[in-house]
Every structure is written in structure tokens, then in C-alpha cells.
């Protein structure tokens, strides 16, 4: 599989990929703790963006409720850790199970009752908000005052319990992002991925050609929600606090999808590129507007930038950069 990717890519693209990968691998030694914290957030959004992209970009199903899967993963692993001492390395399986069950429930209801497009998106929002309100009332999970993980001394890195320094969290999320990328690029070119793209492009035509719509859409939702749930585990142990007031909100879902959309929906590098553009953009805006002491300036420019990208680069930044940098292989029949 890797051989095929290397074969089909241009030398320039491979060189760029190698440089970026190497830079990410050695980054903790080169940058200060602030830049590292930004990189960690970048990679988190690259990871969950990739997971979300699998559902819309590959299989054509728009979810605006992915905050639900992050939150379920986060709450499940955190609750198991706090209440029963289950380490996240085991809790992650429960987290995946919770997220996949929720994803499959939404998918089953949505696809069985053929709720499509905007309506399906609204169904995902409804489930996320609904669950958020319910969790807000479960005192065992901290209810509205939040669920907190014990923060101990950070001297040693304990990978199994996900307790340690930012550098450890950096490598964990970097590994997750890399694995998700590998998984997605393998899936995209597999038979499954081709079925998904057929559904994405024209559902009726795919059905007429004998693609079992329901089964393949369900698989897409299951993989996407499961991957997102893993992201939630990482989130819980990195941030150490969870509030239903923010976790399940649509604004959280928007943050998840933003990178992918800005980078380019349906592309493999889009979610990663989008995260690398947006998170630093937010940081730069924070720094630039800090001196103005006026609430809202930063978010205004933030919204403005996103609107500008939607209006002027509706395909996302990746296809554009791909052409600008001349990364396309010089082969016939390729874009």
C-alpha cells in the first residue's frame, strides 16, 4: 500500500511529506512550550477533523454533532479512570464502544428512515445537544459543575495512564494523527472507500449498481465515531476537566469540522492542513488583538477569515496549494 502511494506521488510531494514528518517528529526539541501547546491543539484538530472527514468527505454524510462522540469518549474513559481506576489504555475500548454505539444509533435511525442532507445534520445536532442536557443532570458525572481528573506530579511519563508531560501528549496525538491518516488513505483506495465515494457522488446510482447503501453508510459512521471517540479519550486526559456546557455544544462540533472544511473536504491532507492554518491563525489573532482590550475583536476576524475561505476557496485550501506547489504527479489521467 505504501509502495503504491510512493509510486503515485511526485518527487516534490514526497520530499515535502518527508520534511514535514521529520519536523513534526523532532518538534518538541526545537520549539518552546507555548509553540508545543499550539502544535498539540493543531494535531488534535487534525485528528478529529480526519475522523469527521471520513464520514462527509468519503461517504457523503454530513454530521454536525461530532462533539457527541468526542464527549462520549472523554466522559467514558474519564469516569472509568476516576470511579474505578481503569487506566485509559483499557478505558479507550469502552470509549470507542460508547461512541460507536451512539454513532450507529444515529446512523440507524437516520438511514433507516431515509433522513438526508440538512435533516440528517440536524438529527446529529439534536442528539448531541440532547445528550449534553442529560449529562448536565447526572450528578455521578459531575453534572454541570464538571468532571475533573486528578492532576498528580508530572515528573514521569506514564503512557498507560496517560499522565505526563505535554511532550508525551504531543507524541500520543501525533501518533494518532499519523495512524488515522494511514487508515484513511488505505480505506479511501480500498473497495470500501470506492463504495463510499460512489454513495457520496450519487446515492441513487450507487444503489442501482448494487451498492448496499445502508451497510456502507453505517460502516462509515461507525469508523468515524469510533475514531472521534479515541480523540475524546486523549482530550479528557490532556485537559483534565470536562464540562457538559461546552463539550456537547454545536460550537464544539463546528470546531471539529472547521479544519477539514477549510483544508478541503474529501482530501487526505485537507484536515491536517486546515488544522495547521486555523489554530495558529487563532493564536495570531489573539496576540494581535490582545492590546485592544475589546471583547469580540478576535472572534470577529476569525469569523471573517472563515467566511472569506468559504467564499473564495470553496474547495478548501489543499487542492489550491496542491496546484500552487506543483505537487501533482506528471501522469496522464490524474488531476
Amino acid at each position: 500500500m505504501i509502495a503504491r502511494i510512493i509510486e503515485s506521488a511526485s518527487p516534490r510531494a514526497l520530499a515535502l511529506l518527508a520534511v514535514v514528518t521529520l519536523a513534526l517528529l523532532v518538534a518538541p526539541w526545537l520549539v518552546d512550550s507555548y509553540v508545543l501547546s499550539v502544535l498539540i491543539i493543531v494535531l488534535y484538530f487534525a485528528y478529529v477533523g480526519q475522523a469527521w472527514n471520513l464520514m462527509l468527505g468519503f461517504a457523503g454524510q454530513l454530521s454536525l454533532g461530532h462533539a457527541l462522540f468526542v464527549s462520549l469518549g472523554a466522559y467514558t474513559s474519564a469516569a472509568l479512570f476516576i470511579k474505578f481506576g481503569v487506566p485509559p489504555i483499557i478505558g479507550v475500548f469502552a470509549a470507542i464502544a460508547m461512541a460507536v454505539v451512539a454513532g450507529c444509533l444515529i446512523g440507524y435511525l437516520g438511514f433507516r428512515f431515509s433522513i438526508r442532507g440538512v435533516y440528517f445534520a440536524l438529527l446529529t445536532i439534536a442528539f448531541a445537544e440532547f445528550t449534553g442536557i442529560i449529562v448536565d443532570h447526572i450528578s455521578w458525572l459531575g453534572a454541570s459543575s464538571g468532571l475533573f481528573l486528578p492532576v498528580k506530579n508530572q515528573q514521569s511519563n506514564d503512557l498507560l495512564n496517560l499522565r505526563g508531560s505535554p511532550t508525551m501528549f504531543y507524541y500520543v496525538i501525533l501518533a494518532l494523527t499519523g495512524l488515522a491518516f494511514a487508515l484513511c488513505s488505505w480505506l479511501l483506495n480500498s473497495k470500501l472507500g470506492l463504495y463510499w465515494q460512489a454513495i457520496r457522488e450519487d446515492q441513487e446510482a450507487a444503489e442501482a449498481s448494487g451498492v448496499p447503501l445502508f451497510r456502507y453508510k453505517m460502516i462509515a459512521v461507525a469508523i468515524s465515531s469510533g475514531l472521534t471517540g479515541i480523540g475524546g479519550v486523549w482530550y479528557a486526559f490532556y485537559y483534565n476537566n470536562l464540562f457538559p456546557e461546552t463539550m456537547f455544544k454545536t460550537s464544539q462540533s463546528v470546531e471539529i469540522i472547521l479544519g477539514s472544511v477549510v483544508g478541503g473536504v474529501g482530501t487526505l491532507f485537507g484536515p491536517i492542513l486546515g488544522a495547521f492554518v486555523l489554530t495558529p491563525l487563532g493564536e495570531v489573532l489573539t496576540a494581535a488583538t490582545d492590546g485592544m482590550h475589546l471583547d469580540g475583536v478576535k472572534s470577529f476576524f476569525w469569523g471573517f477569515c472563515v467566511a472569506a475561505i468559504v467564499l473564495f476557496r470553496p474547495q478548501g485550501l489543499w487542492p489550491w496549494i496542491y496546484n500552487v506547489l506543483g505537487l501533482a504527479p506528471k501522469k496522464e489521467g490524474e488531476r
Binding site: L109, G117, F130, T250, S251, G303, A307
Partner: protein, 290 residues
């Protein structure tokens, strides 16, 4: 006693529901004709509330009297927004349209934050604490006026869409885009008008709502979600459906607040939404999707 309590709560929920309905009309009109989901819905309504607040504070105009002014201002805003910006994403996929509207929502929140700060503010009218007593019923005066105003504006809207040539032309665009183009309707202008009318509804609803609730910049998203629930329950694109959905949600939220817990009332609405989506996705009064 408890029967009287429930009746009181239900009536007050019904009156609030009428305002919800008016606001949801704004969403429904825009989706029904332009097929764009206005994810900045709640934020535009909050903009209307702040505009009303400014008129009240600076000139002492009663929110109900400034309603036409605010509606007109929001109409101009919506008209220009559609004609200059939203029109350009009409051919894009759902998620791009969503993102554009969401970023407009973020900008609106930011502007409100910059101008008015994050604190909750209200317009205290002289009749704020008065109430009407009808037998065992005790209804707040503001709520009666608010519900009546919402009903009047909705009535005007129905009349516009059913009896004026422009209103009929807009409905024609919504029913058949290509057909509207073929018979020579100026679809671009009609779309801008539609968007303007939709946001004018929000301006009106915002002006009325200011009588009942305190306004702050972060109020928007909850109104957006509420309007979605109402419109889907009533039927996307159906005007009577929006009003019916508004009343249903208004009453059920009010009752859920008394019977369960106030903080659980929106869980009840979301549950209702999920149920309707599954059982009757086109909504109670909606037409089957084309």
C-alpha cells in the same frame, strides 16, 4: 389549585410560543424559498433585540412601537446579505453553506460583544409587572401584548404571501425555481426580498422578545436551535407549521419546566424533535420533500 397553576403556565407558554413561532417563520420562509438553512438565525434575532434596546434606552421608545423600525432595519440587513454574500454560496454543498452562516453568526456575536459587552441587559417597561386577571387566570400584561404583536405580524406575513403579487411570486420561486425563471420572474431580487422578509421576522420577534427576556450576545445559539426544533416539528417551509410548532414548543417547554425541572425543558424539546424527525420527517404540516 394545581389545575389552575398548570392552566396559567400553559397560557403563558402559549403566548411565548407565538413569539417562538414568529421567529421560526423567519427561518421557515428562508429555507422554504431559498433552500438555505440560516444558522445565524438566533444571532440575527439577538441583533434585533439589541437594536430595540438601543431605541428604548436612547429615545425611550417602547419595544412594541420600535418593532416596525427594527424589522425594517433587519429587512435591509437580510436583503443585502443575501444579495451580496449568501447568493454566492447557493451552488455549494450543504456544509459550506452551513459554515458561511455559522461564520456570519460568529461575526454578529462579536459585533454585539464589542458594542454592548457580555452582560445581560433588559428594557424595563412601565407595565412590566402588571397582569390581567381572567377568572382564575392571571396573565402578565407584557406576555399578552407580546403574543398579540406576534400574532399580528404573522397575520400580515400570511396576507402578504397569499394576496400580494410579490408574495405569490416568492412562493412560485420556492415551488419551482426553473419555472420561476422561465416565466420571467426576477429570482435574484425575489430571493433577496425573501431573505429580507425572513430577517425582518427576526427583528420583529427580537423586539417583542425583549419584553420577556434579558438580552446578551451569547443568547443566539439557543434561539437558533429552538427555531430549528420548531420548524422541523411544524414542517420546513410551512408557515402555519412554524406557528403551530412554536405554540407546541412554547406550551410543552412551559409545562416541562413545572412538571420536570426548568433546566430539563430543552431536553424535552430535543426529544420531541428526534421523535418527529423519525416518525414524520417532513414535519406536522410540511409537504413531502421533493
Amino acid at each position: 389549585m394545581s389545575g389552575g397553576l398548570y392552566l396559567n403556565v400553559a397560557v403563558s407558554g402559549l403566548l411565548t410560543g407565538l413569539i417562538y413561532g414568529l421567529s421560526a417563520l423567519g427561518l421557515s420562509v428562508i429555507f422554504g424559498v431559498i433552500r438555505i438553512v440560516n444558522f445565524a438565525h438566533g444571532e440575527m434575532m439577538v441583533l434585533g433585540m439589541f437594536a430595540t434596546l438601543v431605541l428604548f434606552r436612547a429615545l425611550g421608545i417602547d419595544p412594541l412601537l420600535s418593532l416596525p423600525l427594527v424589522a425594517a432595519a433587519l429587512f435591509a440587513f437580510g436583503y443585502l446579505l443575501q444579495d451580496l454574500v449568501v447568493r454566492r454560496v447557493a451552488h455549494l454543498a450543504d456544509h459550506m453553506q452551513f459554515l458561511l452562516m455559522a461564520s456570519i453568526a460568529v461575526m454578529l456575536i462579536s459585533v454585539c460583544l464589542m458594542l454592548f459587552g457580555p452582560d445581560a441587559q433588559n428594557a424595563q417597561v412601565s407595565y412590566g409587572f402588571d397582569s390581567f386577571a381572567i377568572g382564575p387566570l392571571l396573565v402578565d400584561k407584557v406576555r399578552v401584548y407580546a403574543g398579540a404583536a406576534a400574532l399580528v405580524v404573522s397575520g400580515l406575513l400570511f396576507a402578504f404571501f397569499h394576496y400580494t403579487p410579490t408574495g405569490k411570486a416568492i412562493r412560485a420561486c420556492g415551488d419551482n425555481y426553473t419555472g420561476a425563471l422561465v416565466v420571467g420572474l426576477n429570482v435574484r431580487r425575489l430571493y433577496a426580498l425573501t431573505f429580507g422578509i425572513g430577517t425582518a421576522c427576526l427583528g420583529a420577534a427580537g423586539a417583542i422578545m425583549l419584553l420577556l427576556v434579558d438580552v446578551h450576545p451569547y443568547l443566539g445559539p439557543s434561539y437558533t436551535l429552538l427555531a430549528f426544533i420548531i420548524v422541523i416539528i411544524g414542517g420546513m417551509g410551512s408557515l402555519p407549521g412554524a406557528l403551530l410548532g412554536g405554540i407546541l414548543i412554547g406550551v410543552s417547554e412551559a409545562l416541562a419546566g413545572v412538571i420536570l425541572q426548568p433546566s430539563l425543558k430543552s431536553a424535552f424539546s430535543f426529544g420531541l424533535l428526534i421523535l418527529v424527525l423519525l416518525v414524520r420527517p417532513q414535519g406536522l404540516l410540511g409537504k413531502v420533500a421533493r
